[in-house]
Every structure is written in C-alpha cells, then in structure tokens.
C-alpha cells in the first residue's frame, strides 16, 4: 500500500468508526433511555411519532378596537373634568374624532390625553380632536400582546399535562405549537379558544328602561347570560375586580350547586372585593367571563375572606377546565387557529415502516446495480454507500435534527444520488486507464480529475437544499436537512472512503493492470 499516507488512513477509519458508533443510539432507539450516549438519537417529527401542530393568530384587531374604545372613554372623562362639552364622537377604523362644542379647552384636553396615552398621534382641527392609533403605538400593543399571549398559552398547555410541548412565536402575530403525542387536540383547542377574561360587576337592577331599549347609558354595559341569550343584565362598565387578582382557582363540588370553581384573591383583590360586597349588600354581583354572565348571585353579606366559588351549570370537566383557564390568566386578545395538522400514532408508525422498507429496497437495488456495472469497484462504492447512510443517521442524531416523512424521502433519494460521486470517479478512472498503464497513477488521476466536478455538482444541490430550508416549513425542512447531510456525507465517503478502499484493494490484490 505504497503512496497512501498513514495519517490519511487513520483519519478515514476514525471518521467511519465515529459515523457508525454515533448511529447506534438512533438504530437502537430506546425512547426513555437516560444514558448520555443513547440520548443522542434522532428526534421523530410530529408526522412520524404522532401529535398535533397548531398555528394560532392573535386577533390584534380586537385589541386595536378595544384601545379605540378606551380612547373614547378617556376623552369623555377628561372632558367632563375640564367641563368641556362634547357634541359627538366618531370612532373610525384607525382613529377617534371628538367634536367639541367650542375650541376653548381643546388644547388642555389634548395635553391631558397625551399624559395618559404617550405615543398616540393627536391632532387639533378647529373644534375637533383627532386621536390616531399610529404604527408605533400599534406595534407596542402588538408586541406586548404576543408576549403576554405566549406566556398564557404556555401556562395553559402546561396545566393541561402535555409532555414536551414546543411553543414559540412565529412571524409578527402568530404562535406556533407542537404537541407531541397529542392525537386529538380538541381539548387543547378548547383551552386556547377562550380568552378567559374574568371580571366581577355590580348589577344595575333599577334602570329597567335601558334593558328594554337595549341601549346602555354611559358607564354601563349590557351583557347576555351564558346559558340564555335572551336574558340580559345591565352592569356597571367598571369591573369591581378582575381575574388578574386571582391567586388560585380549582374545580370543586358544592352540595347544593353541583360542580363549581372555587377561587382565592390576592390581598389587593380581597380588599376590593371585601369593600364592594360590604357596600352593596342586597344588590347582585355578576361574574362575567368573555363577555357573558356566568352567574349573578345576590350579595347577602360582606365577603371579606378573599375567596369564593363560581357556580354555573358545569360538569366536572368544564369546572376543572375553567379553573385551569383562571389560574393561567386571561389572554389579551382571542386566538384564532389558522393551521392545524394532527397525526395519529398509527399513521406515524406506518410511515416509518414504509420509509424503512423503501430505503432498504432502494439500497439493495442500487447496490446490485453498482456491482453489475462496476464489479469489484461497485462493491467498494457500496461499502461507501452504506457508511454514508450510517453517517447521515449519526449526524441527524448528534445535531438533534428532527426526522420527518419528507426527511425519510430525502434519505432514500440520497441513496440514489450518493453513488453519483463514485460514478464520476470510476468513469474518470475508466478514461484514464485508456491513456496509461500505471495502476496507481490511473487511480490518482481519476480522483483528482473528478474532484472539481464533484464539488461543482454537489454545491448546486446544496444551494437548492439551503433555500428549501429557508423558505420551507416543518416537514419540508426535515427534507432539506437530510438532503444536505446526505450530499455532504456523500462527498466525504466518495472522495475519502472510496479512495481509501480502492487503494487498499489495489495494494492487496496486487493489481498490475486496471480495466474497469
């Protein structure tokens, strides 16, 4: 084995051994192993192990509208303080226009308003004050809403007992959820489908004409009953206390009322609640969740202990889910599911099995073909091909990449394409063998000449794979990863391993002439 440096043999052999050793964890695939070595296994994507993928969009429009409503309320309050008369208020898509009777106080009002809402654009036009929701202000609302939503979603998912969920922001206003092992996401969707904004309001029983006309006076709101749309309540718009003051909530069972949710306020909440219940004995207190009244019991005595129960027509699951929602807190805005993909474990297992069969059969076909065409050299290329597969698997395992169904397709495709580098080399050797007779020189020239072609050809494939990664989503990324690793591994195996094997073969067989 003249001309073959020892360091090179050593490098090739160690890389091959590493490739094989680190493929072991993925081949054994012990799901629960805590062993540091066996933990380096391939992660299976949701499409292979079963699970749910959800993409949620935060309904920011609701928030912008809410903020415009706040502007209206604040403008009225400030104007009342300044004794300025408002003629009318126009709420448009992006702005609130307040028409004053005269323009005397308008500048003061503008300044007070600016104190409350820094960052909004305020314009005075004659007797009009225009309050604009500008882009920066929207962005502030958007960012804080997404941050808050992420946190609340995370809490709710954790409470639901899902193992190893992945929850992350995606783009400007979306949240991406991956829930391995969840095959029926209905309950999760229910949990995420509610904003869970809980507030307590005093009921106004005196103003019956407002309810009849369905027209709430300033400072009041009309809210329907949860179970009967036709039953409506006139409530103080201002909440006595809200869900943000809750420290605990859990499902409980009440002898007379059935399933209920018991809750406890923090100190501030308990004080507010105590004060209001003390001052309003005899009135009704409405418990409002997401714009409907769950229940509105009469305050029979002051509640100063800071805890209570909410009763409704709950069953056990509903009560405990409501408790989960209350513990996790309210979402700043509703979430809408814009994409959902759920795969059952059965289909995942079928896909893995089918992928394995396709890979093995593809491998056998290619190997047989190579031997038929190139004889011994083909067999050497097959060794490289098999090692190539091990290296892909070990790389996937050690970098913690996720294998998806398209990823498996990428591996099978690589099996077919990986021999290309070997073919290029062999064809060059074949040509060189016509020009000269020195066996080792032929081989050396063959490899050298093929090198630049192999690089050029593979880099173009890598470009396509990288762009696929940049623009693709989920499973498709899995494909681009296996394809890229396959291409890189095939360059190594062809240029180094096949090279080594060919030299070894020629040295040991003591070939005097080379006919491919």
């Amino acid at each position: 084995m003249k001309n073959y440096p020892i360091w090179k043999s050593f490098t090739v052999i160690s890389l091959v051994l590493l490739g094989i050793i680190f493929a072991i964890p993925s081949i054994i695939y012990d799901e629960n192993s805590e062993n540091w070595f066996l933990k380096n296994k391939i992660n299976l994507g949701l499409d292979l192990q079963g699970g749910s993928y959800l993409l949620l969009e935060v309904q920011l429009d609701v928030l912008y509208k809410e903020e415009l409503d706040n502007f209206v309320d604040s403008a009225r309050l400030i104007s009342r303080d300044q004794a300025a008369k408002i003629e009318k208020i126009d709420v448009q898509e992006n702005e609130v226009v307040v028409f004053f009777a005269n323009k005397e106080k308008i500048k003061d009002i503008r300044d007070s308003f600016f104190q409350m809402y820094r960052g909004v654009t305020l314009q005075i036009n004659n007797n009009k004050l225009i309050i604009k929701l500008n882009d920066e202000y929207r962005k502030i609302i958007q960012d804080s809403a997404i941050k808050q939503s992420l946190e609340i979603v995370r809490k709710r998912i954790d409470e639901s007992g899902t193992k190893e969920p992945l929850i992350q922001r995606s783009g400007k206003k979306r949240i991406l959820l991956q829930l391995p092992g969840v095959k029926d996401p209905e309950r999760i969707k229910d949990l995420l489908g509610k904003t869970a904004k809980l507030t307590f309001h005093i009921v106004d029983n005196d103003n019956t004409s407002a309810l009849q006309n369905n027209l709430a006076p300033f400072g009041k709101i009309i809210v329907p009953d949860m179970y009967d749309e036709n039953t409506k309540y006139l409530l103080d718009k201002r909440a006595v206390v809200g869900g943000e003051n809750l420290v605990d909530a859990k499902g409980s069972f009440d002898q007379t009322e059935g399933h209920a949710v018991s809750f406890r306020f923090d100190t501030e909440g308990a004080q507010k609640f105590g004060k209001v219940t003390t001052n309003n004995i005899g009135k009704n207190l409405a418990v409002v969740l997401d714009g409907v009244v769950i229940t509105a019991p009469r305050i029979s005595s002051a509640i100063t202990g800071g805890s209570g129960i909410i009763t409704g027509n709950f069953n056990a699951q509903e009560a405990s889910d409501l408790a989960v929602l209350l513990r996790a807190g309210a979402l700043p805005a509703p979430l809408e599911i814009v994409e959902e993909r759920s795969v059952g474990a059965g289909l995942g297992a079928d896909s893995i099995a089918a992928g394995q069969i396709a890979a093995i059969i593809g491998m056998v076909l290619v190997c047989v073909f190579m031997i038929l065409i190139y004889g011994t050299f083909g067999a050497l290329a097959n060794v490289s091909l098999i090692v190539n597969l091990f290296i892909i698997i070990s790389l996937l395992g050690t970098i913690g990449a996720t294998l998806t169904l398209p990823g498996i397709a990428g591996i099978v495709l690589t099996i077919g394409m990986a021999v290309d580098a070997n073919v290029l080399i062999f064809e060059r050797i074949k040509e060189e063998s016509l020009k000269q007779t020195k066996v080792f020189q032929i081989v050396k020239n063959g490899f050298d000449r093929a090198m630049s072609t192999i690089l050029d050809a593979n880099i173009t494939t890598l470009i396509a794979a990288v762009l696929l990664f940049a623009f693709g989503s989920g499973p498709i990324r899995g494909f681009s990863i296996t394809l890229s690793l396959g291409v890189i591994a095939s360059m190594f195996t062809a240029l180094m391993l096949t090279n080594f094997l060919v030299y070894m073969y020629l040295s040991f067989a003591n070939k005097k002439e080379l006919k491919l």
Partner: protein
C-alpha cells in the same frame, strides 16, 4: 467480475447535437403545452395551497359510498377518496373561514364516529396560510433559480449560466405541465420535489459543462458542435448511471414508501427523467448560440 459497464463504450460517438433541432422543437412544444395546461386546467392544488380540511380515517365494515352518503347530507362540498386500500379513506372539505373549519372537523367526527376505527390524521389550513404558503413556495423556487444562476456564473462563464437556466426553466415548466395532465396533487412536498429536481438537473448539467470547459482548453481547433458532442459523449455513461441509480431509489420510494409520499416520489421521477434529458438536449445546444472562440481561447 460482471463489469456490465462495457455495454456503453468508453468513447461513444453519438451525434447528439445533430438532432438538436428536433429536440428543440419538441421541448418548445412541450413548454407551450405546459403553459397552456397550467393556465387552463391548472394544478390539482392540495389543502396546503387551497386551504380547507382533510381527515384521514381507517374504517370498519363500511364502504366509501356509505360514508359519502352520511356526509353529503350535511356538506355539499365534501369529497371522499380511498387512500392506498379500501379501509382507509380521505375526506376533504372546503371551508370559508377558520372558525367554520374547527366546527366542521368536530361535526364530521361526530357524524362518522361509529364507522371509524381510527382518525389517522386531520389537517386544516386556513385561507391566509394557504396563500402565504403558495407565495413562499414560489419565492423559494425563484430564489433557487437565481442563486444557481449566480453560482454557475461565478464558476463558469456567464454563457453557461444562461444555458443552465434555460434548461432549468424547461424542467420546471415541463414537470408542472405533466403534473397538471396526471392530476398529481400539488402540495408543499411537491415544491420540495421541484427544488430538488432543479438541484438534480443542474448537477447533471454542471457535469457536462465541466467537460465542455475542459475540452475547450484541450482541443483548441475542434469545431464547437463536435466539441460539444464529444463532451456529451465523454460524460454519457455517468449521466445514464446516475439517473438510473436515482430512479431506482425513487421507484422504490414510489412503490413502498407509503401513500402520503407517493405524489412526491412521482414528481421526482418525472423530474429526474426530464432533467437528464434537458442537460443533454437543451442545456448543451443552448451554448451554441454563443461563440466561445476566439475570445475565450486563452481562458
């Protein structure tokens, strides 16, 4: 040893470029027909790009007709299809809004609950997402073509880049045309397949161009047509060999890889064949438009 490679002579002498006019006409026709097909018939867009709901179920003691009857009484736009074998059925629904879809999945599940062994998968893609995905897929393919063009331009002379992109555009159009005729579902995986085809076809083209460049230096007196012919012949056995091994792997994937991956495998098979054809019959003849000599002689 077998050494069947001797079937293909080491220095074959086939006059590929002599036939270039026929192949050019064939390819131009194929591209025109593809464009026509794409604008009239269009592609069979899957839910990734069209939006909607898809539910895959495995059933027991029931027929697809029975399920169709149950569902079509509630939904006018439902379509059912056997998927692989008669016990596995795909249900597709078109939904207008996100909210509607979630309710749909639940009510479909309730309607057929007792006929179903397992809900194997359910997918829902909302209207905003599907148009985004289509746009991003289009972006990915365009950027890939541009990036490949730039790479070829850097590594070779710009004329080669032009030839490569003509061949690539041909491959993408021709493949899409065939997908339209065969009514193959067009999904995210198809976009991946098309990009891979672009990578594969360019790979093939680069190998031949590499040889053209080498021969341009080696044989300074040779006529361009003869030189191109020689280059194609030099690389012919490699071109055939690599296409065959790739096709072997893909056919295995098509037959054994399962129902979900089948459209992907089929698209790849079509693309590899077209890509190999275009490297030889489109990319190389395109180079004839340019006069490489004498200015590139001492390159």
């Amino acid at each position: 040893m077998f050494g069947l490679n001797k079937i293909i002579p080491v220095e074959p002498n086939i006059n590929f470029l002599g036939l270039r006019r026929n192949f050019l006409i064939f390819s131009i026709l194929a591209m025109l027909i593809s464009i026509l097909l794409l604008s009239i018939k269009g592609l069979n867009l899957g839910i990734d790009f069209k939006g909607g709901t898809l539910i895959e179920v495995s059933t027991k003691n029931t027929s697809i007709g029975e399920l169709r009857e149950i569902l079509s009484s509630s939904y006018s736009d439902v379509s059912l299809q056997e998927f692989g074998n008669e016990n596995i059925i795909l249900i597709r629904l078109q939904n207008k809004s996100n909210q509607e879809s979630i309710e749909t999945v639940n009510s479909v599940k309730n309607l057929i609950q007792d006929k179903v062994v397992e809900f194997r998968r359910s997918e829902f893609v909302g209207p905003t997402i599907s148009s985004e995905l289509l746009f991003r897929g289009f972006q990915a393919v365009s950027f890939a073509l541009i990036a490949i063009l730039i790479y070829i331009w850097l590594r070779f002379e710009w004329q080669f880049g032009f030839g490569a992109v003509v061949a690539l555009t041909h491959d993408v159009l021709f493949t899409l045309g065939l997908l339209s005729i065969l009514n193959v579902e067009f999904s995210l995986a198809t976009i991946a397949a098309i990009l891979t085809i672009a990578g594969y076809s360019i790979n093939d083209t680069v190998v031949i161009f590499d040889r053209v460049r080498e021969n341009l230096r080696k044989y300074k007196k040779l006529e361009l047509v003869d030189l191109f012919n020689l280059s194609v012949n030099n690389t012919l056995s490699r071109t055939i060999m690599t296409s065959l091994t790739t096709l072997l792997a893909l056919v295995s994937l098509f037959i054994f890889g399962g129902e979900v991956i089948r459209p992907f495998a089929l698209t790849m098979i079509i693309g590899v064949i077209i890509g190999t054809y275009s490297s030889v019959f489109i990319a190389v003849p395109t180079l004839l438009i340019f006069k490489f000599r004498p200015q590139d002689e001492d390159d």
